[in-house]
């Protein structure tokens, strides 16, 4: 069974390709960026903004909108690329990334980026904020969903679990979390640095619904979200297995491009691989 039509899939793939190119250009031109985790989260963001979320780019503060909290704020380039691609602001503004007084920097600022629902950056903060927004939605009887995007390395922060406990306790079934499980943090493999496994069991033991999906497969991401939206009681986490640096061969599956400043040769190769010349 397919949940997405071929036409939808084609559009989503094209958008994801464009967002990857935007990430590359933003980071390369501004002298460096978090390539690995930005490239691994692209399909999740593309599907959320391209198919799932309720929002109005002309009215980004619409109270009934779905919210997205990018708790792994260091991958802001991916968020900005998605927000531009889905109409929140003109794409050429991304050229200012990390420049003086730009709205767009390494980490998102909710008062400067149209469509950004929370300023983030320090890991382990977004999950509590997402819980607060979910609580407000229930109190106001608004049927929006809160989408929270965590990094897997981020789950080494204790506050992720402190708030996971609260979200399950308060039955926040309007909260849907993703963990970008690319298995690599800044300096190595999560399992070697500070083990997360049995990761799914950890979430289950905190009272969450858990699904494991391929975080680059639109069908699987979509199926996971649809199931999560049906939860009657508890929040859901989608453990999205991804490839750090997805799309650029030399960035894939290594911590070395968690943050990097590319040489001109690397930039040329990355552009070639992401098909900058070939267009869409």
């Amino acid at each position: 069974m397919t949940l997405l039509t071929n036409e939808e899939l084609e559009i989503l793939r094209r958008k994801a390709r464009v967002i990857r190119k935007d990430i590359l250009e933003m980071y390369a031109v501004s002298g460096g960026g978090h390539f690995g985790g930005s490239l691994s989260v692209v399909e999740i963001l593309t599907l959320l903004y391209g198919k799932v979320m309720r929002y109005d780019p002309r009215n980004p503060k619409w109270p009934e909108r779905d919210r997205l909290i990018l708790s792994k704020g260091h991958t802001n380039g991916a968020l900005c690329g998605a927000l531009a691609e889905f109409g929140f602001f003109p794409k050429d503004l991304l050229n200012t990334f990390n420049q003086l007084d730009s709205p767009f920097g390494m980490h998102p600022d909710m008062h400067k980026i149209p469509g950004c629902d929370m300023s983030t950056g320090s890991l382990g903060h977004g999950s509590a904020v997402a819980a607060g927004i979910a609580l407000a939605g229930k109190a106001d009887r608004l049927d929006y969903f809160v989408y929270l995007i965590l990094g897997d390395g981020e789950c080494q922060e204790g506050t992720v679990w402190e708030s996971a406990s609260v979200s399950a306790h308060y039955h926040l079934n309007n909260l849907i979390a993703f963990v970008d499980r690319n298995r690599i943090s800044q300096e190595g493999m999560t399992e070697e640095v500070n083990r997360l496994e049995p990761f799914a069991d950890r979430w289950r033991s905190f009272g969450w619904n858990v699904q494991e999906i391929d975080g680059h497969d639109f069908e699987q991401i979509y199926a996971g979200i649809l199931a999560a939206q049906q939860s009657k009681e508890f929040p859901t986490v989608l453990i999205a297995h991804t490839i750090k640096g997805r799309g650029v061969s030399f960035m894939e599956n290594t911590y070395k491009y968690h943050y990097a400043d590319l040489t001109s040769e690397e930039l040329e190769l990355a552009r070639y691989e992401l098909d900058v010349e070939g267009g869409e």
């Binding site: 927004i133 708030s163 609260v166």
Partner: protein, 338 residues
């Protein structure tokens, strides 16, 4: 320790909590969040009367602050209730990055500040909180001195958008104010006029300062006393006036002398450029230790008598004019502005 001021019928935190319930009944934006200490912090009435706008997050101060930030992005006005030491230290980064930086409308109701949990020892003493909170852009820092001021402050802060830190104690404070007086956030209240020196204080120690001014008066030293209830934004004009019109300025706080009220006043006076000398009373870069609160304050020189004696000693040492019936040699006198 002299105690000639009437003791308030209610603890400031209890009075503030009652006022918060009154405000919340009129203003549906107001929520109360706690880290499992709502009743201990005087907010039991809110829990009982407005349970749908109350959340106990458990012993999780950091998550409480994050949840409050999330609620605030949806137009709510959360008041957070926890012990000052844990809020300002444990949840410091959440307050800074999730509340102050995005300038969200979250009010931090920090009780059991200073030595309120005196016997709790240093882990439970908040003697750095004003310095920490004051250093965050967008943050307002207020320190009520008694129950009447605490009540007025709660009502005033409901009407001022943006983050604020309210430093409250535990017990029933001596009454410094009458029930009716005018309070404006950011504007010091002159409790007593005097032309020789100025004492600037806030919170619990204002009562000691008020008594100290009476002791000093017996020696002919007329002290102006300012209730600097708002430590940030601090009333620069009142400090400048005091520095220009009196011979010396003293700050008195139940806080480390670094970075709190004394620090704030010192910054203002330094920029004025040597208009008057300054001395800061407080914990002089030490932890307070263990013991009953009043005894600890006395040990650190923060009782009325010790404040008065120290002021006399400093004035004598500096040869500053201490008034018409000064016990000091005439030759040492120098008067400002005649």
């Amino acid at each position: 320790m002299i105690s000639i001021l009437p003791i308030a019928p209610l603890a400031s935190r209890v009075a503030a909590g009652k006022r918060l319930v009154e405000e919340a009944k009129k203003d549906p934006r107001i929520w109360l969040l706690t880290a499992d200490v709502a009743r201990s912090t005087g907010l039991g009435a809110f829990v009982d009367e407005l349970p749908n706008r109350f959340i106990n997050l458990g012993i999780a101060e950091q998550t409480m602050v994050g949840v409050a930030a999330g609620l605030a992005t949806c137009g709510k006005l959360p008041y957070l209730s926890a012990f000052a030491a844990m809020l300002s230290l444990r949840a410091c980064e959440q307050i800074r990055s999730d509340v102050a930086y995005p300038n969200l409308n979250v009010k931090i109701f920090a009780t059991h500040s200073v030595l309120a949990l005196a016997k709790g020892g240093t882990t439970h003493h908040a003697t750095e909180d004003m310095a920490i909170m004051r250093s965050m852009a967008n943050m307002t820092v207020v320190v009520p001195c008694d129950m009447y001021e605490a009540e007025k402050m709660i009502s005033a802060l409901v009407r001022i958008p943006g983050p604020a830190y309210i430093r409250l104690r535990r017990g029933n404070d001596p009454l410094v104010h009458e029930e009716e007086f005018s309070l404006e956030i950011g504007k010091a209240i002159q409790l007593r006029d005097g032309n020789h020196i100025t004492i600037i204080s806030c919170g619990r120690l204002l009562a000691e300062c008020l008594i100290a001014t009476r002791i000093l008066s017996e020696y002919g030293i007329q002290a102006r006393l300012l209730d600097m209830h708002t430590v940030k934004p601090i009333d620069v004009a009142a400090i400048e006036k005091a520095a220009r019109e009196t011979e010396m300025v003293f700050t008195v706080e139940d806080h480390n002398i670094l970075g709190g009220l004394g620090g704030a006043v010192a910054e203002v006076m330094a920029e004025l450029g040597g208009v008057a000398p300054l001395y800061r009373f407080g914990f002089r870069d030490v932890y307070a230790g263990i013991g009953p609160e009043e005894q600890l304050l006395d040990k650190h020189g923060l009782s009325a008598e010790k404040i008065a004696n120290k002021i006399k000693e400093i004035l004598l040492r500096k040869g500053i004019n201490a008034g018409p019936i000064s016990p000091y040699p005439e030759g040492l006198s120098k008067s400002k502005g005649g």
